[in-house]
């Protein structure tokens, strides 16, 4: 069982002071501790962006992949070793820009992994360009007249893609975030946790203040997370009130449940039966 301390590394942290990534990382660590997992039982996969540094700062198995490809790699790691708790970390750009092609497919395929989106509604690392989740009218370096393309809604996109667990957290609500992460990691199937994470350097609109005034908890509002229609309705809320918590949660067979070869021991520990392979090869000789 890892402690919060053991989950940290000695790497110098390059995030800006006040960045929402600190809270997010802390929330994830606390959830891992609560679940009683050892460090070697968890694998983190990160994309490219400020969020990508998470693999430098979280002392579990780590794979820092290229921009946008968190989901295929995370899915494959889980298939190879189903005993691992696999967590993907992606920025909003990473997940919904270049990585968008993978998102609906991972959701409908339903591997037993969790995708954490560091949603700061901006490209952080490349210093403040418009992202697919940037809201209409928001002035950024690549939208100096204000963004004029509709933003992607991660929650409704996940619902439409048949994701089994769809949630939103906020780094300004730590205890709530830890509960949410714990629930996502326990969930059997693809879980999306879209986390509102202020980028203090480049997003001057969606700040802590902005969210503090608006967020409310779905769990305290009578929302039924098995009601898909209600989930869609809540997903549309943004302007005055922004819901956080579990929008939707329904388990269904995971990717792998229907593969006989994945039953029993994880693939990494299965031995290749050389006798069988030799027989197969000889058939083609």
């Amino acid at each position: 069982m890892a402690s919060i301390r053991e989950l940290g590394t000695d790497q110098k942290n390059y995030w800006c002071p006040g960045c929402g990534n600190f809270g997010l990382l802390n929330g994830v660590k606390r959830a891992i501790v609560r679940l009683g997992l050892r460090r070697d039982q968890v694998t983190a996969v990160t994309g490219i962006g400020c969020h990508g540094k998470t693999t430098n700062y979280l002392a579990v198995n780590g794979f820092h992949v290229i921009h946008g490809r968190v989901l295929p790699v995370a899915t494959a790691i889980k298939l190879a070793n189903k005993e691992q708790t696999v967590i993907g970390f992606a920025g909003d750009g990473d997940a919904f820009g270049i990585g968008m092609g993978h998102f609906p497919h991972a959701a409908r395929r339903n591997p037993n992994i969790t995708l954490v989106v560091h949603n700061n509604l901006i490209y952080g690392l490349t210093t403040g360009q418009t992202s697919p989740t940037t809201k209409l009218g928001h002035v950024t370096k690549t939208s100096p007249r204000g963004a004029f393309e509709e933003a992607i809604n991660p929650i409704s996109t996940a619902l439409a893609s048949n994701a089994g667990f769809v949630a939103r957290g906020y780094v300004g609500e730590m205890d709530h975030l830890v509960d949410l992460m714990e629930e996502a990691l326990r969930f059997r199937g693809f879980a999306l946790v879209d986390i509102l994470q202020p980028c203090v350097a480049w997003n001057r609109i969606n700040t802590y203040d902005f969210y503090n005034k608006r967020v409310y908890k779905l769990g305290e509002s009578g929302h039924d997370p098995t009601d898909l229609t209600a989930a869609y309705e809540r997903a549309e809320e943004w302007s005055e009130r922004i819901p956080i918590g579990v929008f939707y949660k329904v388990e269904r067979p995971t990717y792998g449940d229907n593969f006989p070869v994945l039953a029993g021991e994880p693939m990494v520990r299965k031995k290749l039966d050389s006798g069988k392979v030799a027989k197969l090869i000889s058939e083609f000789a």
């Binding site: 290229i66 921009h67 946008g68 820009g97 490349t126 360009q129 370096k141 939208s143 100096p144």
Partner: protein, 405 residues
């Protein structure tokens, strides 16, 4: 008579953006990636400030950026994009489409090493990876060259005998983020120089028409082309590359008249009586020039050949420049893993192979992942070449300079 010019302080990225603003193409579609980001930011600023009237598309990936340019260019527009490293890698599929469909797109490549492992600094692994894709490649030594090439590229690409897309390559950070003095032409002079895009006439299914999408005289771009004609269409591209070897100097000469700055496919420096010489691309050649001057002061007969145009490969100029030099060092800032040598080295060897008398040629791989290439390192290359010249033979031609053993 060259035109009156304004001296501006700009880095390489800003030079690309400023020249492109003056050219004022029709469509710019780009996606930010270090160290190209300044270009996309500047180009979107110009739109916001109403200084240009091109359509700026903030796409969701580089694959889309180049696809967007392909569509725009096929529709008859001037289309521009810029990228680096993984961005170019992601475009790879479309780079062949752009050249195969003969679309004269201009793209700035801010050279950056390709992961893995992740690295954001300069080498040439990105553009070298695209060297077989059918694009012209111009490699710049400084921001002035970047500015000039970002203007002349349009005329070269769109020339009816060429019709090929062009990459204007500049070294990441070394050029992209370093402020230099750049002489710039007045807007009007630039727009007169680039003029309007020319179109060749082709036979369409409804008769003769310009090679572009036009609903009145429809054409199909990109249909299936199998065993019947694909091969011949590739021969057309080979021919276009050959034509480019003539067209590029013509455009450069015309540009020299308005700018006073002349360029060659290949630029020899202090080569007349040189006994040892270094061949290379890009910003490193500035450092080589500095070192050659020092060595000359010390009495060493050193020279250099800067290759500005790498595609099409200026073979006959290269033969002329190197044939009588006893020992030549080829600088490569990228690898071709598993190959006999770096890409520039291999192509130089292949070019000189047929000569009855040829130089001894060694390969110096340097600067990978942004490793600094200072004058001391270049001096070391020349020392090694002098040794080769004295001995009259090369052992292992491969040298990895500036790397830990």
């Amino acid at each position: 008579m060259s035109e009156k010019q304004t001296l501006m302080g700009m880095n390489g990225d800003e030079s690309v953006a400023y020249a492109t603003k003056q050219v004022n193409p029709d469509v710019v579609a780009a996606y930010p990636i270090t160290p190209q980001t300044i270009i996309v930011e500047k180009l979107s600023e110009y739109v916001a400030d109403g200084e240009v009237d091109y359509e700026y598309v903030a796409v969701e990936s580089e694959h889309s950026a180049l696809s967007n340019c392909v569509g725009a260019s096929a529709a008859g527009a001037r289309a521009f994009t810029a990228t680096a490293a993984n961005g170019l890698a992601l475009m790879w599929e479309i780079t062949f489409i752009a050249s195969g469909l003969r679309l004269p797109i201009v793209m700035a490549i801010v050279n950056r090493s390709l992961g893995g492992p992740i690295n954001i600094h300069n080498d040439h692994s990105d553009s070298m990876g695209a060297r077989d894709s059918g694009w012209i490649q111009i490699h710049c030594e400084n921001s002035q060259e970047v500015y000039d090439a970002s203007i002349t590229a349009w005329r070269m690409a769109e020339h009816p005998d060429v019709l090929l897309p062009i990459m204007v390559c500049l070294d990441g950070f070394t050029l992209s983020h370093t402020m230099e003095n750049v002489l710039t032409l007045p807007d009007k002079v630039v727009s007169d120089f680039v003029g309007e895009r020319e179109f060749i006439t082709v036979k369409g299914h409804m008769g003769e028409t310009e090679l572009r999408l036009n609903p009145d005289v429809p054409l199909t771009f990109g249909p299936v082309d199998l065993q019947d004609y694909y091969f011949e269409h590739k021969l057309h591209q080979i021919d276009a590359m050959k034509q480019a070897l003539k067209v590029i100097p013509e455009v450069d000469a015309e540009y020299a008249k308005i700018s006073g700055r002349s360029y060659d496919l290949l630029h020899p420096y202090r080569m007349e009586d040189a006994e040892v010489a270094v061949l290379g691309l890009g910003s490193t050649m500035g450092t080589v020039k500095y070192t050659v001057d020092q060595l000359r002061d010390e009495g060493v007969k050193a020279g250099l050949v800067k290759m500005r145009v790498f595609r099409p490969f200026p073979s006959s100029d290269l033969v002329d420049a190197l044939k009588d030099i006893p020992a030549v060092g080829v600088l490569d800032k990228s690898l071709s893993l598993g190959a006999p040598g770096g890409p520039l080295f291999e192509e130089t060897m292949a070019t000189l192979y047929h000569l009855p008398k040829k130089p001894l040629i060694a390969n110096y791989i340097h600067g990978l992942g942004g490793r600094d290439t200072g004058p001391q390192l270049i001096r070391g290359v020349f020392e090694s070449l002098l040794e080769i010249k004295d001995k009259g033979e090369i052992g292992d031609p491969m040298n990895y300079v500036g790397a830990r053993p």
